[in-house]
């Protein structure tokens, strides 16, 4: 049972744009972080799918897997940091609504 690689790539593009939509349009800071995570996942999917497409056929390239694992670690670090900042934002502003957390914008 082999699915075409391009199907995975299309799925990755759709996921990526869901993530972009989430980051750009959501007012809740937590949802922004979730959007970033969705984008990361889409890229991981793309990497793994493309590692199947590369010759030699039948052998999975370990390069893509290692970069995906590295990227997961980084993603976890960034998510942790973002959540820590959101806790602090809540402490200062008593809200996580990004439209209200905008004293610097003018």
């Amino acid at each position: 049972m082999t699915l075409n690689v391009s199907l995975y790539m299309v799925a990755a593009i759709i996921l990526f744009f869901i993530g972009v939509y989430c980051v750009v349009s959501k007012r809740n800071a937590l949802k922004t972080v979730i959007g970033i995570e969705i984008m990361t996942t889409a890229i991981h999917l793309n990497f793994i799918a493309l590692s199947l497409a590369n010759p030699p056929v039948g052998v999975v390239d370990s390069l893509a897997q290692s970069i995906v694992i590295m990227s997961m670690v980084v993603g976890a670090a960034i998510a942790t940091l973002a959540l820590m900042l959101i806790i602090r934002i809540y402490g200062h502003y008593k809200t996580v609504d990004l439209k209200k957390v905008s004293r610097l914008r003018w």
């Binding site: 890229i43 793309n46 493309l50 390239d61 390069l63 590295m70 934002i89 200062h92 957390v101």
Partner: protein
């Protein structure tokens, strides 16, 4: 040529980062808290020493390229470091400004807590940047890129009890992560097209990619992704918030060198890795030059309107990134014209790191003494801080391009390179922007140095020696490069030549 010396600067910085908390603990037990600061300065000096060793070795190397493979896997798969003249130029800047920031922090950060974390993060920040400069494949590049990014997010929001660093830090985190992810997405496609992540192997095979039109999309993703990190308009909106919110030495690092890491990524990937691709580079040159003009105009016009000294300097950084991007776009022509363009851009990268580092440290000294960032409150503060005022004047004149200082050399070089490439319109835009830039730096000098001091500043004292020392060194460099630019121009030329010498890069790896 393989050499273990490539690893030493990175290893020194990582080891120092790990040791800082331990040394800090020892310092607490023996009642000598400044041990940590002394260790930090020694750590940066050691890194600079290993770098200068590497520089000596690079001089004798064939083709001016040193490599190091992590054992076990060959180049197409394995992790590898590649050092050429561009890498070593950037690494010197990163470590040098790191040292200045560390010396400045000794007195500036005295009243803050959690300093062991602060110095660890400073080390990891510089490690990340040096690693980016030395990376020979996308894997390494990505890991060190994120090391740098995560460290700088934490450093921006370091003063966690205030609202401003938190809000600016969150904004910076979201936007910069977005940019990094776009680059990662482009990386995944480049991997899919060529089957490798190694720069040299990609450069070898990217020319035969079909269809080449997909490369336009990838280059677009890369320009936007690095553009966020390098604060190219319209992706610069995080910078004027994040840079002022950080402590002053970190602002100097961020404005001086962290945005240059984005520029380095653009140079490395557009001018070397993807340059053999069979696409129409003239179109990309124009697109990048339009981005550059937009960036410098937005930065300068917004800087005119600022009343906050650090925000003014931050917007000025955006404008200077515009000049550098213009030079980089000329560099994409390749050949002799490209070498001129890239060399002038690299010279400005070097000069801007020195000048903007200097100005942010001056701003930090003033804020530390006067306790406010508002220019209307700081009227005439220079009369109370003569040393700082002199250094600030040197920095401001240098960055606005007044002849005996270094800013003039590189801004003039960029103008000449742009004219040389036949892009007279963009040269005119840049000239107009330099004049606007001069006007707001004159305003800054008029308010801070010329006007007589306000009564709320009577208690302001001169900055301590350990703050004046790094500022003085940087100001001296401004004058030296201005009066005797030849060795620095040669260095920048060598870097530009080795960047655009793609065949040598492919052959050596």
């Amino acid at each position: 040529m393989e050499s273990l010396a490539v690893l030493y600067p990175i290893a020194t910085l990582i080891v120092a980062a790990v040791l800082v908390p331990i040394v800090s603990l020892i310092g607490k037990t023996v009642k000598f808290e400044k041990l940590r600061e002394a260790f930090t300065v020694i750590g940066f000096l050691a890194a600079l020493y290993t770098l200068s060793n590497l520089y000596q070795e690079l001089k004798t190397a064939k083709d001016g390229i040193l490599t190091y493979n992590i054992r076990g896997f060959g180049p197409p798969i394995g992790v590898m470091f590649v050092v050429d003249w561009l890498s070593i130029l950037m690494a010197f800047l990163f470590c040098g400004l790191g040292l200045m920031a560390a010396i400045f922090s000794i007195r500036y950060m005295e009243e803050d807590t959690g300093l062991d974390k602060y110095y660890t993060l400073l080390f990891t920040l510089v490690t990340g940047m040096v690693g980016i400069a030395f990376a020979g494949d996308f894997f390494n590049f990505f890991v060190f890129w994120e090391t740098m990014c995560v460290s700088s997010y934490v450093l921006v929001s370091f003063r966690i009890r205030f609202w401003e660093p938190i809000e600016a830090g969150f904004k910076y985190l979201v936007m910069s992560t977005f940019g990094s992810l776009l680059v990662l997405y482009a990386m995944s496609y480049i991997y899919g097209l060529t089957g490798t992540l190694n720069f040299a192997y990609i450069a070898k095979t990217i020319g035969s990619v079909s269809p080449p039109t997909i490369l336009y999309l990838l280059i677009g993703l890369i320009i936007v992704g690095f553009g966020v990190a390098a604060a190219i308009a319209p992706f610069h909106t995080w910078l004027p918030d994040a840079h002022p919110a950080a402590p002053a030495p970190i602002s100097a690092m961020l404005s001086g060198v962290v945005i240059k890491a984005g520029i380095y990524g653009l140079i490395r990937i557009l001018a070397l890795v993807l340059h053999p691709a069979s696409i129409n580079w003239a179109v990309l040159v124009v697109v990048l030059a339009i981005f550059a003009s937009l960036t410098m105009t937005v930065g300068n016009v917004m800087a005119l309107l600022q009343n906050d000294i650090k925000r003014l300097l931050a917007f000025s950084s955006v404008a200077q990134i515009g000049y550098i991007t213009l030079a980089l776009s000329v560099g994409l022509f390749g050949g002799k014209i490209g070498v001129y363009g890239l060399a002038s851009g690299l010279l400005h990268v070097m000069n801007h790191a020195i000048m903007k580092g200097l100005l942010f440290l001056c701003a930090g000294a003033i804020i530390h003494a006067a306790g406010t960032r508002d220019l209307r409150e700081l009227t005439g503060v220079g009369h109370k801080m003569i040393g700082t005022a002199v250094i600030l004047t040197i920095g401001a004149l240098a960055i606005s391009g007044v002849p005996p200082f270094n800013g003039f050399v590189s801004e003039f070089a960029i103008l000449l390179a742009t004219l040389n490439a036949g892009m007279g319109l963009f040269a005119a835009i840049m000239l107009a922007n330099i004049i606007i830039g001069f006007s707001y730096y004159l305003k800054l000098l008029y308010i801070l140095v010329w006007q007589s001091p306000k009564e709320n500043l009577v208690n302001v004292k001169e900055a301590p020696f350990l703050m004046l020392l790094p500022m003085g060194i940087l100001a001296a460099l401004c004058i030296v490069i201005g009066l005797w630019p030849q060795p620095f121009i040669d260095f920048a030329f060598k870097a530009a030549q080795s960047t655009l010498n793609i065949t040598a890069y492919i052959k050596i790896v």
